[in-house]
């Protein structure tokens, strides 16, 4: 009996010693950071790509021996639905261990969650949503954004399209804040640049049949059909245009720049134009590094268009925590002062509203089943022609 007790005590002693030793070696403090994006639903490919990219930033930081803290990423799904997004935001905000977060791809969700972040004092960086009001509609110190807004995007789009020589447009937009915002800014800049809008049609974001709207548009006979909305209904509209013999050039927004759009419409994607903030991942200053690291991790999904932005947002958060310590207020203050920091998406400088002011817009055309940068496409070189040119 006695020997058993001695052995037991010895084992305990060994465990305690080793336990102490291990905590001494890995004495890094645990810090939690958050990520929210659409992980399920029609835009989930972008959400999953963003999640993997944010996760990559955390993994790289944890692998860095110089990092002061050990980070844990808390991932939540907003389903691209405002009500679910508010729940997720509240969950993160109420968890005092979470210091900061990279949040939201969908504008309709982001705009409805900013109040929540403000209430809980949780600093966030938006990584994908492009509605201007997310940063410009409030004076919340908690809200920042690394990607450009639809204002920049539509200004470039309007100038570019009128520059090509197109004269008349019909507009279809979904009636969420995202679609309405696109409609507003595109119409504004188009009129400034001398374009003429023949008709504007609002549609719900889950509409199936567009034959009535498209028939009406056909009778208006515009040069270009501008679509302000996301991939799922973009796919339907492009497919149904063909059924009704509508020959206009199809122009989309950042909402359709995804592989899902091209897979969804197949060969009808050829010659579709779209515009997006930033540049293609491989053309970004740190794009090559990002893609290399991303591929090393063997994620199940590609980073998609906004992955690099999610990575940059998360990296900026981690940098700030490293510098200022895991404290929401300090992190918020430091983020508000960011001006000209290098990142894989180029320099980042936040204005008074937390909006990154150094926004690059890239023009895309779908060529042979891929989103190709306009300047490098055969459409720009004159080898292929857009519709009506």
């Amino acid at each position: 009996m006695k020997t058993i007790r001695i052995v037991f005590a010895a084992v305990l002693a060994v465990m305690v010693v080793f336990g102490l030793a291990s905590t001494a070696v890995g004495a890094k403090e645990q810090v939690k950071v958050g990520f929210i994006g659409p992980l399920t639903g029609g835009t989930s490919s972008n959400g999953l790509g963003g999640r993997n990219s944010a996760d990559l930033a955390v993994r790289l930081r944890n692998a860095d021996p110089k990092a002061k803290y050990k980070y844990e990423l808390i991932v939540l799904d907003d389903e691209c639905k405002p009500n679910i997004g508010v729940q997720a935001a509240t969950k993160l905000g109420a968890n005092k261990d979470v210091i900061a977060a990279a949040t939201h791809y969908c504008s309709a969700v982001a705009i409805s969650t900013v109040d929540v972040y403000h209430k809980f004092g949780l600093p966030i960086i938006v990584w994908g949503a492009v509605l201007p009001d997310i940063t410009y509609g409030n004076k919340y110190g908690e809200v920042h954004r690394v990607n450009g807004t639809m204002i920049n995007q539509n200004e470039t789009a309007a100038k570019f399209m009128t520059g090509l020589g197109y004269k008349t447009w019909a507009v279809i937009h979904d009636t969420t804040d995202y679609g309405k915002g696109h409609n507003k800014y595109f119409s504004e800049y188009l009129t400034k640049n001398g374009g003429n809008i023949l008709g504007t049609f609002g549609v719900t974001s889950d509409q199936q049949d567009f034959s009535a709207e498209l028939t009406k548009i056909k009778s208006l006979n515009p040069d270009v059909l501008y679509f302000g909305g996301l991939t799922p209904i973009g796919v339907r509209i492009r497919a149904q245009m063909e059924k009704l013999g509508l020959k206009a050039q199809f122009e989309g927004t950042s909402g359709i720049v995804s592989d899902t759009f091209i897979e969804g419409v197949g060969e009808l994607a050829e010659g579709v134009l779209a515009f997006r903030e930033g540049a293609p991942t491989e053309k970004l200053p740190g794009g090559k590094f990002f893609l290399e690291q991303y591929n090393k991790q063997n994620y199940g999904e590609p980073p998609e268009a906004y992955g690099a932005f999610a990575f940059a947002a998360m990296n900026l958060i981690l940098d700030t925590i490293e510098a200022k310590g895991p404290d929401r207020k300090k992190v918020r203050k430091a983020l508000n002062k960011v001006g000209g920091v290098d990142s894989i998406v180029g320099k980042i400088a936040f204005d008074d509203h937390g909006q990154n002011t150094i926004a690059v817009i890239t023009k895309y055309v779908s060529q042979d089943g891929e989103w190709t940068v306009w300047e490098e496409s055969e459409y720009a070189s004159g080898k292929r022609k857009l519709r009506g040119m």
């Binding site: 989930s44 049609f201 609002g202 549609v203 009535a212 009778s219 991939t231 339907r236 059924k243 197949g266």
Partner: protein
């Protein structure tokens, strides 16, 4: 408005109406024989469309690439699979609850619908994304002014209308149809006349769900795209069409389907720059019709007596 454009609107409306009618007929059949509302009907349609798509990929795998054969096999497989699913729903979810309040059946089918579309979203590869449905029909188009008639659209419309006529004949001219109508009218009497009640219910569910699968494939062929959520709104519209036409009445369901499609098309035409409200307009008119004729446009000849 010129004739070509009018023709195009009519064609659009007919196409939509045909699909709504196919869904509405299912609702009305189920209500007829069992006095229940099967809210999983829209999702059965969606699963039918996905079954068709999977069948198409299977056929391409084994090297059958002749389009007419593909269309026929896709339609047959999807219809049979969904007919079977319909029978299973009837046997294990609806019939056991026969004595329970109708609300329970309504709830259980509503939940089944959610299970079906969540299952597709989670388990079908990339199920959350819109899926491209292959064009299996000839895509030649004829243009008359503003009217573009595509051969595939015309074939889809004719196939749909053909099935609707077929169902009408089945219900009104065959012995099976007589049995279905007998059960719908008076279950007890039908049983005493030697009609196998359970069998008739199963067959009715098979027919209704098979129709949904057929409509799902037509939907895929027409729009070249299917997605996991497509059954939700179609279910609601189909249900409203069945109600407005007079639940339990096949003609009512057909009329209701075409009426709803007409209302949506008129909604866009009448309010060209407020097209987002076309569903509000269509459902609003449906509400007015319901207020005017609470039992539907075509009333049941025999009202239920206690």
């Amino acid at each position: 408005m010129d004739a070509g454009l009018l023709g195009q609107y009519i064609m659009n409306g007919l196409m939509l109406g045909m699909m709504y009618a196919l869904v509405a007929v299912g609702f009305t059949l189920f209500f007829g024989v069992m006095d229940i509302i099967n809210f999983s009907h829209g999702d059965v349609l969606m699963v039918g469309a996905f079954t068709g798509l999977a069948t198409y990929f299977g056929l391409s795998e084994i090297g059958i690439s002749w389009a007419p054969a593909q269309v026929l096999i896709v339609l047959t497989v999807a219809t049979i699979c969904m007919a079977t699913l319909g029978m299973l729903i009837a046997k294990y979810l609806v019939l056991p609850l026969k004595a329970a309040p109708p609300l329970n059946t309504l709830l259980i089918t509503l939940m089944l619908g959610t299970v079906l579309h969540e299952a597709i979203r989670l388990f079908y590869p990339q199920g959350a994304n819109p899926q491209r449905f292959p064009s299996l029909l000839p895509t030649d188009a004829y243009t008359f002014g503003n009217f573009t008639l595509r051969i595939d659209s015309a074939m889809i419309l004719l196939a749909g209308l053909g099935v609707i006529v077929g169902i009408h004949l089945l219900i009104n001219k065959t012995k099976l149809g007589l049995a279905i109508r007998a059960v719908a009218q008076d279950e007890e009497t039908a049983k005493t006349m030697g009609i196998n009640f359970t069998l008739i219910v199963l067959i009715t569910f098979a027919i209704g769900s098979g129709l949904a699968a057929f409509a799902g494939i037509l939907h895929g062929l027409y729009y070249s795209e299917i997605n996991f959520a497509m059954g939700l709104l179609l279910g609601v519209i189909g249900f409203s069409s069945a109600i407005v036409g007079g639940l339990g009445n096949i003609y009512g369901a057909i009329i209701g389907g075409f009426l709803f499609a007409a209302l949506q098309t008129i909604g866009v035409l009448a309010m060209p720059f407020a097209s987002a409200y076309k569903d509000v307009f269509a459902f609003g008119v449906i509400i007015l019709i319901m207020a005017w004729r609470p039992t539907g446009l075509i009333q049941e000849k025999i009202s239920e007596r206690v």
